[in-house]
Amino acid sequence: MTGEVVIFWVTAIFSVIGAVGLVISRKAVHSALWVAFTMINLAVLYFSLGGAFLGTTQIVVYTGAVMMLFLFVLMIVGVDSSDSLIETIKGQRLVGTILAFAFGALLTSAITTTGFSAAAGVAVANDANGGNIEGLAQLIFGRYLLAFEVTSALLITAALGAMVLAHNERWTPRKTQAQLQRERTLAGHPTPLPSPGVLALHNSVDTPALLPDGSPSQESLPRIFKSVEQSDDSTNNEVTS
């Protein structure tokens, strides 16, 4: 039982648990947390396999940046959005399960029958350039320079694409203060609207404020959460109709 073996089995079990959690969680937020958990475990594995740079990147980029992005989007589309786990496509779940198992079984049997009996380890390769990062740098800015440059173009394009996709064109001229004032007066509610979460059980923006008589005030919610009802157990709430 060397350290490597211990680390492998611990992280392997954890990461599989995380992956399974991702699939079976009803709430997207939970799924995201399970993914982050799996990724950290994978980062540990990378460290143990001599990929210090990759492990760090895994934590910083994946667990940090990418998962943060996921959470941002989750916040936008509704943090409580979750699937009902009832399958709508006929036979999808059954066939999907069979195929997934078959695939996994084939993959595993292929790997075990093909077989690598021993590993060389990257320690020598790391030391040749004075460390893992130097070794990687040597390759990235050497042999894989062209691919590296191309990925930069890809990233730029992706950033532009995301901007174009998410951009909202303004079709009407911006309202003037006078207009806003008039609208607000005519709407019959000249004072500011109540803030969400006031006196409610949660203080998040998607929880309507409670009026003095204890009833929730829909007016307190931002427009995007208008359809969400307040209740103690919000797991049944769906943004989608």
């Binding site: 994978l42 990759l54 077989g115 590993a119 990925t151 950033a159």
Partner: protein, 99 residues
Amino acid sequence: MNPNNYLVLAGILFTIGAFGVLVRRNAIIVFMSVEMMLNAANLAFVAASHITGTLDGQVAAFFVMVVAAAEVVVGLAIIVVIFRTRRSASIDEASLLKY
């Protein structure tokens, strides 16, 4: 330790990710399942690097991360746009492009 174990782990993670893509309807969860599959592939790359004793596998995993980042950015933007127009993050809803 037999290095095949790393590969088998990668295979299992990949399979679970694929299964998630098949059965989940929430677009974000599907997306995360795809990320899971990419991570499984990364693990296989790093394990291959470990087996062969070269760093090329790690470089490949690095590139996969870069591409995954780009993919996430665009994919999430698409999800946001779909959500904005359809008020739904279910991938079964966006099924107009059909027979």
